[in-house]
């Protein structure tokens, strides 16, 4: 019997669960998770659950550093942004302090965070995961039937390793959506692709039958770190496209 796992699974039952995953780090999972949560919250009550317990990037993106979650009878109260967007992060438990854990503790910590989160009344939960295929993917798989949103950068290394993830996901019967972040930028009306034409990626998505959305590089994004919920630039346009893909 696993009480915390049962509680986490029970809380997630019937909710739309989206796992933002990647094979490599630094490709934009946390940014995409945050923007996706914001876009989705226009329609449904959306909770962003930061499962990257080492980076806790959502706390930095939303300007939550040093703040701690209130704990009520229903668990950890999400940090609210308006009444339809909420964020839960381990940073709100450890108060923006580093976390270093042996593997088994990492999985149990994630399970606790899931179990103790107050998800009552939230329709959708977006999980911002750490990179790669680690414990967190297994932990999440035990408690939810998540929809994977795989993020990659267009660099050759990322593209090569993203195939691992697509293979794993298709083996488990999941139908991922692929996001190529930082695929291009607009310069004086021209589309520039600094990492090449993305042909290898197109081939990959065709091979696995995975829908793909490209997101641009936006240097302005950096200015919204700490208040990402206010960002309304070109990357957000692409993220709206992602929500349409996820709905299909």
């Amino acid at each position: 019997m696993k009480p915390l796992r049962t509680l986490a699974a029970g809380k997630l039952k019937g909710k739309l669960a989206i796992a933002v995953m990647s094979s490599k780090g630094g490709v934009g999972k946390s940014v995409v998770s945050a923007l996706l949560a914001n876009v989705m919250s226009a329609r449904v009550k959306t909770l962003l659950l930061d499962l990257d317990v080492h980076t806790m990037a959502s706390a930095k993106l939303f300007g939550l550093e040093g703040r701690v979650h209130q704990v009520s009878k229903r668990g950890l109260e999400p940090f609210p942004f308006g009444d339809k967007l909420g964020v839960i992060t381990l940073s709100g438990v450890v108060k923006d302090r580093w976390v270093l854990l042996p593997g088994a503790n990492q999985a149990l910590t994630m399970e606790s965070l899931l179990a103790y989160s107050d998800m009552e009344g939230w329709d959708a939960v977006i999980f911002d995961l750490p990179p790669g295929l680690g414990d967190e993917v297994l932990v999440l798989g035990r408690v939810s039937d998540y929809l994977p949103l795989v993020v990659t950068s267009p660099s050759k290394v990322s593209v090569k390793v993203v195939e691992y993830l697509l293979k794993f996901l298709s083996e488990t019967g999941k139908r991922p959506v692929l996001t190529v972040n930082m695929a291009y930028y607009q310069c004086q009306g021209q589309v520039v692709r600094p990492f090449g034409d993305g042909r290898a990626l197109k081939e990959l998505t065709e091979r696995y039958g995975v829908p793909m959305v490209e997101l641009p590089i936006d240097p302005e994004l950096e200015e919204f770190v700490g208040r990402i919920q206010e960002y309304d630039g070109p990357v957000l346009e692409g993220v709206r496209e992602i929500t349409r893909m996820l709905e299909r």
Binding site: L4, L7, K73, V94, L100, A115
Partner: protein, 139 residues
């Protein structure tokens, strides 16, 4: 306050397990000593949340499980008593809802080996467990 969540977790878990097996009389759970859970709140939460469930006649018994820490670097084995001061510091920094109360598995991030100072520490007995479910044989 997350004692309520733990009670909720125990009820959901035992309800699932006991379905079709009869009436549950008593549930024994194990909670890690390092989390300093309030057992009164825990049983009170259980008694309130069990109303209207199949466990309405069950009682909760809470067993405190002691942890053994093993340093992976120098091999030292130690107990909570040996790191009381460290735990005390965390408690005074964070107050009531301090991290190890909420998520005891975070302990390697907050506790170091009292001999060599390493953070590479393994801990046992650190999660909430259902130790025993006693059925009502008369029903």
């Amino acid at each position: 306050m997350h004692e309520w969540s733990i009670a909720d977790a125990v009820i959901r878990t035992v309800e699932q397990w006991a379905e079709g097996r009869g009436r549950v009389k008593r549930i024994v759970i194990g909670v890690p000593s390092i989390s300093f859970l309030d057992t009164d709140i825990l049983t009170q939460a259980f008694d309130e949340l069990k109303v209207g469930t199949s466990l309405r006649d069950a009682n909760l018994q809470v067993k405190i499980k002691e942890q053994t820490f093993t340093c992976q670097l120098c091999g030292r084995r130690f107990t909570l008593k040996d790191v009381e001061d460290q735990v005390g510091e965390v408690r005074s920094e964070f107050g009531e809802e301090y991290p190890l109360h909420l998520i005891p598995t975070l302990s390697p991030s907050f506790i170091k080996c009292p001999s060599c100072g390493s953070r590479d520490v393994m801990v046992d007995n650190q999660d909430v467990t259902v130790e025993e479910v006693i059925m009502d044989e008369t029903s």
